[in-house]
């Protein structure tokens, strides 16, 4: 079935690839917004009305005034009011992507549009990972491994892998989660508890910290470097390694899906879809499957 699916993707007359890469790119961004731009009641009600038409009508999809209005809406909610309500970093990336499209549609010639959008997608990914890497050097608890020791033993998304690799039972990890929940809901600020952990978790957390710095740092370097540098040619491989090593364990779906969309856009070369573009597209489509608790299922069988 998978083979048939991939063969269908490769056929020149496949419906999707009759579309220009620019059209597919814009549609991917619209789909992301349709799925995730629903932070409050106003957006949840009005955005689908605003976002479905460009998926149906090409004139709207490539209308620069439409994207300018979308840029304004996203800037208000995600860039201006971002310290008032809960606006995670990937919502900022949504706004940057929309603004990038608006700039391209307003200021680029028709033949340069996809090239310019691809360039902007590359820079957005590069800067995002550059700041993430610098941020890790600004956090002492990340550098000494205690961030991952804390996160791996209190955040349920990591419990499966943590228990398999470090010989600790899920019940201990669930106790940590429950104690942390009690602490943040406390009526006594003097409350405290002891984390259930072990030496193996401390060691693996230290390794994980520097692996993360390495892979995020390499993505930052290769995406920010101009194409003329040889290292820059490996940028997609580093991003793919990051996707494979991160998403099955700790997917922040909003971040993952915009990263896949931007990955698709930046991997377009000479107005053509590359094998990397197809990979990002498959990731984009399969992302909902990350809700399956793979590591916990695996735990049931060992």
């Amino acid at each position: 079935m998978l083979t048939k699916f991939l063969t269908a993707l490769n056929k020149k007359d496949a419906l999707l690839f009759n579309e220009k890469p620019l059209t597919i790119s814009l549609k991917l961004i619209i789909i992301v917004l349709l799925m995730y731009m629903n932070d409050n009641n106003y957006l949840a009600i009005f955005m689908p009305v605003f976002l479905v038409p460009p998926l149906l009508f090409k004139n709207i999809l490539q209308n620069k005034y439409y994207w300018a209005l979308l840029a304004l809406i996203s800037a208000i909610f995600y860039l201006i009011l971002d310290l008032v309500a809960y606006v995670p970093n990937h919502k900022h990336i949504f706004a940057y992507a929309i603004i990038a499209v608006a700039i391209v549609l307003f200021f680029s010639k028709e033949e340069n549009k996809i090239y310019m959008l691809s360039y902007q997608a590359k820079i957005i990914i590069g800067l995002c990972f550059l700041f993430a890497t610098i941020g890790k050097f600004l956090a002492p608890e990340f550098l000494n491994g205690s961030f991952f020791e804390f996160t791996n033993t209190t955040d349920p998304r990591f419990f499966g892998v943590t228990s398999i690799l470090n010989n600790i039972d899920i019940l201990s990890l669930k106790a940590n989660e429950s104690n942390l929940d009690l602490l943040i809901n406390t009526v006594n600020p003097k409350d405290s508890f002891n984390l259930l952990s072990n030496v193996s978790i401390s060691s693996s957390s230290f390794f994980l910290s520097y692996w993360t710095i390495f892979i995020e740092g390499m993505i930052a370097i290769t995406f920010c470097l101009p194409n003329k540098y040889k290292l820059a040619q490996f940028r997609n491989w580093f991003l793919i390694i990051f996707i494979f090593s991160t998403y099955p364990i700790a997917t922040v779906k909003g971040f993952a899906i915009i990263l896949s969309a931007l990955g698709f856009i930046q991997s377009i070369e000479d107005n053509k879809i590359t094998k990397f573009s197809k990979f990002y597209l498959v990731v984009f489509v399969l992302l909902p499957l990350t809700d399956i608790p793979f590591s916990r299922l695996f735990n049931l069988f060992i």
């Binding site: 309500a85 995670p88 700041f131 600004l138 956090a139 996160t151 600020p189």
Partner: protein, 140 residues
């Protein structure tokens, strides 16, 4: 993007901004984040101190989130005023303070008894493995 990164670093250092927020892209770095922060206020009643965690007051959900994201002096004072403008009740059976009377014996408290509004965050000591709360900022 550079502006939001620079602003993030400045606000984290000077105003206690959650480093994961504000478009700084510094997620998965520090343990301290708004999800693990606690915002609340202290009431001294009958010589005893009571802490009211804003997570338990649905009417103050927006203020709770705003405080946990950016517990600046200005924001603390503004929300402190709002808290003090409401009527709070002490339930002697449950020994808690709520926004609405929860029993016939609930007593209206004098808002002058609200002594402090504060934001705390979890603190993990990697050596002892102890997790406790520590102050980020407060206002009287």
């Amino acid at each position: 993007m550079l502006f939001f990164f620079a602003r993030n670093i400045y606000l984290v250092q000077s105003k206690g901004l959650d480093s994961w927020m504000g478009g700084g892209m510094r997620m998965f770095g520090k343990i301290d984040k708004m999800l693990y922060r606690v915002a609340g206020f202290e009431v001294t009643y009958n010589s005893k101190k009571y802490f009211i965690n804003l997570r338990s007051v649905p009417e103050f959900e927006d203020e709770d989130v705003a405080l946990r994201i950016l517990p600046s002096d200005d924001r603390l004072k503004e929300i402190s005023k709002k808290i003090k403008s409401k009527k709070w009740f002490f339930n002697p059976e449950k020994e808690n303070i709520t926004l609405k009377p929860t029993s016939v014996n609930s007593l209206l408290i004098d808002n002058a008894l609200i002594t402090k509004i504060e934001v705390l965050t979890v603190d993990f000591d990697a050596k002892t493995k102890e997790i406790k709360l520590k102050d980020i900022n407060y206002a009287n």
